[in-house]
């Protein structure tokens, strides 16, 4: 006679998972919060979409707490924390969405078929919206950003190479300075260029604007390049040295080609940083209504176009400002897609 002891393997349980019933209760908490938020929205002064959100946002954590009340104090606190974090995150994204939506809605009003190819040479800002355009501002911004890129990218990359590759005595000092430089207020950079370039060379010019932009661009380029250069594997460097290459040769024939697309990303990020800078340009490149390619003269730019159109108070001028904001936003968006494209190419390598 033998007793058969049946041993069952333990069934794996996942106590941290929500049971189906709990999931239902949590869902119910959201629905209830929304309903109560809606009621408050109708009855009291918390009106509109934002009122609905605020009401719901405050009720949601409370309802979630009640939905989990049978699971102990720790879990209740945990759930409240999650709910508050989620609500805070949504609260942060609302203004972002609002910015994008408003700019595109209001910006499209100013848009017409030749908006991107006309300038404001013969059109007063208050004129009907089918006249005039922002060609002059686009050309001006492109020119200044191009010059700024040509100035700041080599310097930025050299600084990064010095920090990462040469590792000279001043490497950490330079790194520190670059980080501090990224915090220089843009208007201070503008004032600096005004007090040097503008006063010495007699007047506002695209050159001055480009120099101001390059000061702001340099730290972004240098820091991004530094991050990128660090990605190059040590093996690659040591094998190059083992083959008898000098350090300079290693840098220029091995390291830089390896991370070329990363360095382009650095440049594009720098451009995205400065393309919308307004304050320094007020003090350096000023504004001009016609399309100009003369770098010694004042020149138009997108941010100043927006800024000065807004200052006029005229309805059509304001609409033009929104149009400019839309183009500027589109430009920043495009630059960002570019950086994503390049950085995904690095990762594949």
């Amino acid at each position: 006679m033998s007793v058969v002891i049946e041993t069952m393997p333990p069934v794996p349980t996942q106590p941290w998972r929500n049971s189906k019933a709990q999931g239902m209760r949590n869902f119910l908490a959201i629905v209830l919060a929304l309903i109560c938020g809606g009621v408050i929205n109708r009855v009291t002064g918390l009106s509109g979409f934002l009122g609905l959100f605020v009401g719901t946002a405050f009720l949601f954590p409370v309802f979630v707490a009640f939905a989990n009340i049978n699971r102990g104090a720790n879990v209740v606190v945990d759930r409240i924390a999650s709910a508050v974090i989620a609500v805070a995150f949504i609260a942060v994204t609302i203004p972002w969405l609002s910015i994008f939506i408003t700019v595109f809605r209001k910006g499209s009003e100013a848009f017409h078929s030749s908006y991107l190819t006309d300038d404001m040479r013969i059109t007063p800002s208050g004129d009907d919206l089918q006249y005039g355009g922002i060609a002059h501002a686009i050309v001006g911004t492109m020119l200044m950003v191009l010059v700024a890129t040509v100035i700041s990218v080599p310097f930025g990359i050299i600084a990064a190479i010095y920090i990462v590759e040469v590792k000279g005595r001043f490497a950490s000092l330079i790194r520190f300075l670059v980080q501090a430089m990224s915090g220089v207020p843009s208007i201070v950079a503008g004032l600096f260029v005004y007090s040097t370039v503008v006063t010495f060379f007699g007047g506002f010019s695209a050159w001055a604007g480009a120099i101001a932009l390059s000061i702001l661009m340099l730290p972004t380029v240098a820091r991004t390049s530094e991050e990128v250069l660090k990605l190059v594997s040590v093996d690659l460097r040591t094998s190059s040295s083992a083959l008898g290459a000098t350090q300079a040769r290693t840098v220029f024939t091995i390291v830089i080609p390896t991370v070329a697309s990363g360095l382009i990303t650095a440049a594009v990020l720098g451009v995205a940083r400065v393309v919308g800078e307004t304050a320094p340009l007020i003090l350096t490149s000023s504004y001009f209504v016609a399309t100009s390619r003369n770098l010694n003269e004042p020149i138009a730019s997108l941010p100043i176009y927006i800024f000065s159109s807004l200052g006029l108070g005229d309805q059509n001028a304001t609409a033009r400002a929104w149009g400019g904001a839309m183009v500027l936003l589109g430009l920043v968006f495009f630059l960002f897609l570019l950086t994503r494209l390049f950085s995904s190419r690095i990762k594949r390598k």
Binding site: D78, F89, G183, L191, A279, A325
Partner: protein, 288 residues
């Protein structure tokens, strides 16, 4: 690298006369009157009110943005699935790069009417607290609005620094907290938040530096009035950067020098804040 020294040097050189003429009262005084344009001795120039405005808007911005930035950073790092995390990080970078003029125009058109209503409600119920009292009854382009807008601008900056620091929190400690039966929030509170505290302070100071030096967004959302305005809901204030942008156009030569001096003060203040921030952030990175 010479640029930094050159910036300071040239601004000092240009603004030197002002410091010589006004001494310390240039920083503490809050009157801006060029007097007779021919005779510079009649001018009374002080950036006290503007400096105060810079500080108070930046403080409002930081107070508003830090809790939201921490919540967003925690959400991105610990709550959402990986694919959503990469999207959110991209969005964060994008918003951080939005031009301030776009923020400004949005703040003026969309946020201003909203904040005006909120301000009225706050004044109605909390008016007995001195800083919320608005005796003039004029709301609108107040330090509160400017601070709120600056807060929105610096949320992505603080969030990305905080997220980076949180992501370096020791994984084994978090797992240990979970293994001991702690909840997710328990692990975050016991391990991640204390770990990331100094990094958060550094990120906040970076945001503070940005908020102090912001020009265009403040120019569009803050009424430039030369008085030290504690009443954050009232439509009066200004900051150093927007002062420079406003007065620059029609400035006399002497006033221009004063603006240079103001720029120098702003430069030194932000440099100080950024140095501090850089040191703190670097230190918190080295712990790992």
């Amino acid at each position: 690298m010479v640029v930094l020294a050159a910036i300071g040097g040239f601004l000092l050189y240009r603004g030197f006369e002002i410091f010589k003429d006004f001494g310390f009262s240039f920083i503490t005084g809050s009157k801006w009157d060029i007097g007779n344009a021919e005779d510079t001795s009649t001018a009374i120039l002080g950036i006290g009110a503007m400096l105060f405005g810079s500080v108070i808007t930046a403080i409002i911005a930081v107070v508003i943005s830090v809790p939201f930035a921490v919540a967003t950073a925690l959400l991105i790092e610990f709550y959402v699935p990986k694919w959503f995390k990469t999207i959110l990080i991209s969005v964060l970078d994008l918003v951080a790069a939005l031009p301030s003029v776009v923020f400004g125009i949005w703040g003026y058109a969309v946020l201003l009417p909203l904040v005006e209503n909120w301000s009225k409600t706050i004044e109605h119920y909390l008016g007995w607290i001195p800083i919320f009292n608005v005796p003039s009854g004029i709301f609108g382009r107040s330090p509160f609005l400017a601070g709120l807008l600056l807060g929105l601008m610096i949320v992505p900056i603080i969030t990305s620094v905080a997220r980076e620091v949180y992501s370096q929190a020791p994984r084994d400690l978090i797992d240990a907290a979970s293994a001991l039966g702690g909840t997710r929030w328990g692990a975050l509170r016991a391990v991640v938040l204390p770990f990331g505290r100094s990094g958060l302070v550094g990120g906040t100071m970076l945001g503070l530096g940005r908020a102090l030096g912001e020009t265009v967004a403040v120019y569009l959302t803050l009424n430039l009035v030369f008085q030290v305005n504690f009443k954050i809901l009232a439509s009066a204030g200004g900051n150093v950067a927007s002062l420079i942008a406003t007065k620059f156009g029609e400035a006399t030569e002497y006033e221009l020098k004063a603006l240079m001096a103001a720029g120098l003060v702003l430069f030194l203040v932000t440099l100080l804040v950024n140095f501090g921030a850089t040191i703190i952030v670097n230190k918190s990175r080295k712990i790992v």
